[in-house]
């Protein structure tokens, strides 16, 4: 489990998280959704141990503030919203930096992670020359290489992803979400801050919906993603539809011609 209890976070004079509790289970993709400024990224940064905050975060039962950086690095990887690379490392070198904590990284681990994100052919290109979306995938490859297999010797490993598909085209959005889904299906835990409600509905098992610095609702995707709850969180009227089950014929009236 990844659990946060009574998280309070103050940045400057603003309290951005109020007494927030959060749970994510291994084997699941847990999405954190909510409007801009609702505290999604702040919550993720508390979960990854970036920011000093009130309350307690435990990862697989261990308080993360008691773990050394390299112990934490072996248990969870973090993909920030945007990463800047100061020097012209190649894509492969970038992924290898992610293996810094490992004493003896598995042979070819970096190349496998690059292949998984579809960047094997860009291994020798400087990261700074890749497009924004490719860079985002390169950093995902770095995080995948860092955590290694979804389940460690005695506990699941975790991916904490902050808007992992924000810079991607639709095919790569699906590819990246599938990587997250596969990681969870293999026993690992995934927590992702998501803006795209449709992708959330397709890939997440549970959703925590943030509003005004506290969770408005959390539970299974179907329970949270209702017209009422989403309308309340985003402050606008929304109607949640559902796709017809596969194999059922359906007709869209927009397709009619007179």
């Amino acid at each position: 489990m990844l659990s946060a209890r009574n998280i309070t976070l103050t940045l400057g004079h603003n309290t951005v998280l109020h007494d927030t509790c959060f749970d994510a289970a291994p084997g699941e993709v847990t999405a954190i959704c909510g409007p801009n400024g609702s505290g999604k990224t702040s919550l993720l940064r508390c979960l990854s141990g970036d920011l000093p905050h009130g309350g307690r975060v435990t990862l697989n039962g261990e308080d993360i503030s008691t773990l050394e950086p390299w112990q934490l690095a072996a248990r969870r990887g973090v993909l920030p919203q945007a990463s800047q690379l100061a020097f012209p490392f190649t894509t492969l070198e970038l992924v290898e930096i992610g293996l810094s904590h490992a004493r003896a990284p598995a042979e070819g681990a970096a190349l496998r992670a690059l292949a998984r994100t579809g960047l094997a052919h860009h291994a020798e290109r400087p990261v700074n020359t890749l497009s924004g979306g490719q860079q985002q995938r390169a950093h995902l490859a770095r995080v995948l290489a860092q955590v290694g297999s979804p389940v460690g010797p005695d506990s699941p490993r975790w991916l904490l992803l902050d808007e992992p598909v924000s810079a991607l085209d639709i095919a790569h959005q699906l590819q990246v979400m599938q990587i997250a889904r596969d990681f969870a299906d293999a026993g690992g835990g995934v927590v992702a801050v998501m803006h795209d409600l449709n992708l959330t509905a397709m890939f997440a098992d549970s959703v925590t919906l943030m509003a005004g610095g506290r969770p408005l609702a959390s539970g299974t995707t179907a329970d949270v993603m209702t017209s009422d709850t989403l309308g309340k969180a985003y402050g606008c009227t929304l109607r949640v539809g559902s796709a017809p089950p596969p194999g059922t014929p359906f007709v869209l009236p927009q397709t009619a011609t007179a």
């Binding site: 934490l72 490392f89 190649t90 070198e93 190349l111 094997a120």
Partner: protein
């Protein structure tokens, strides 16, 4: 899932190439060092001296003095100062995530300078006991103290709750540099004519004051700083992704930064103390090496030490021979070589930002 067959061509490792470069740079350092022993105003030939020794004959008096007491300590100091400045530059650039960072920028050199200038101007006013105690090392000690004090002040200003903000540190460095520069100006105002001459020469940078006793004061500090710096490669690689990401990757960020800052203060302070303001080595050397073999700090820090040492000794040879039998301050030579490279980096970055 993407097929693993995609991987086919095994990428060449730039790290391996950078490691092979260690050997070539070391070789180059030995060659340039040997050449510099033969260069100088008196026309003493180290090969002839070596040949005399090989035949079991004692050295002539001038040979012994020129080679052992003048050129050899000068060579040793050039190697040490060059390595210290280049490695300090590479460390600062990694720490600040900026290829244009340099000890000169965050006020470390300015702090060392204030120490040295104060010692030159106010040294005579010291209580007699203290003056005897410090003796000929006074300038060196004061410069070292100045570098440490400004680094410490910088660190205290920029660090809150164990976290250093790089932008605060850069800005504080500029402010501290201005402050120490102003204080140095006051010192220059107070100085008499003889002291002004000393100040000018010290400020331009020179290896001409090299002696075994001066070397004894700074060599151990530089050695320790260089050895400690060579263990920071992984941490600096991770830091190039930013502090938060470096921590995610498993680097103990705060302690790595503290060690890097201490190394810079030690190496720069000791180097400035014995040689004055020799600029641009810290910018030029790491930049050339990144072009040659990539930015991996595990190899870069060692290569920077080797190439920095070689380059400074070469620059010193130029400074000694170009207006022989007199000599140019070496800071002029490094600035003439280095400033265009600095501008070139700047322009290239500008172009990259524009597209």
């Amino acid at each position: 899932m993407a097929s693993l067959i995609d991987v086919a061509p095994a990428p060449r490792s730039r790290l391996a190439r950078a490691r092979r470069l260690h050997l070539w740079l070391a070789l180059l350092m030995v060659v340039i060092g040997a050449l510099s022993l033969g260069a100088g105003a008196t026309g003493v030939d180290p090969l002839a001296a070596l040949w005399r020794l090989a035949r079991g004959l004692p050295l002539e008096r001038t040979e012994a003095v020129v080679l052992l007491d003048i050129r050899l300590p000068r060579l040793a100091m050039g190697l040490l100062v060059g390595a210290a400045l280049a490695v300090s530059g590479a460390l600062m650039q990694g720490l600040f995530r900026n290829p244009l960072a340099d000890p000169g920028i965050v006020g470390v050199s300015a702090g060392a300078g204030l120490g040295a200038i104060s010692a030159i101007v106010l040294g005579g006013a010291l209580p007699a006991g203290l003056a005897v105690l410090a003796g000929p090392h006074l300038v060196a000690l004061a410069a070292f103290a100045g570098a440490l004090a400004s680094t410490w002040a910088l660190y205290r200003i920029a660090t809150r709750q164990g976290r250093t903000s790089v932008s605060t540190m850069l800005l504080a460095g500029i402010a501290l540099g201005a402050l120490t520069g102003a204080l140095s100006g006051v010192m220059v105002y107070l100085a008499d004519d003889n002291q002004l001459r000393d100040l000018t020469f010290w400020g331009l940078g020179s290896l001409s004051g090299a002696s075994w006793s001066r070397l004894a004061a700074s060599a151990p500090i530089i050695f320790v700083a260089l050895a400690a710096a060579s263990t920071l490669g992984r941490a600096l690689n991770a830091l190039s992704l930013g502090e938060a990401t470096a921590a995610h990757i498993g680097i103990p960020v705060q302690s790595a930064k503290r060690r890097a800052i201490l190394c810079v203060a030690g190496a720069t302070g000791a180097a400035v103390a014995v040689s004055g303001g020799i600029g641009f080595i810290g910018i030029v050397v790491p930049h050339l090496l990144r072009l040659a073999s990539g930015p991996d700090h595990r190899a870069l820090l060692i290569n920077a030490g080797l190439l920095g040492a070689t380059l400074l000794v070469a620059a010193d040879m130029v400074a000694r021979s170009i207006v022989s039998p007199s000599e140019l301050p070496i800071g002029i030579v490094t600035a003439v070589l280095g400033a265009p490279v600095f501008l070139w980096i700047l322009l290239k970055r500008h172009g990259a930002d524009a597209c």
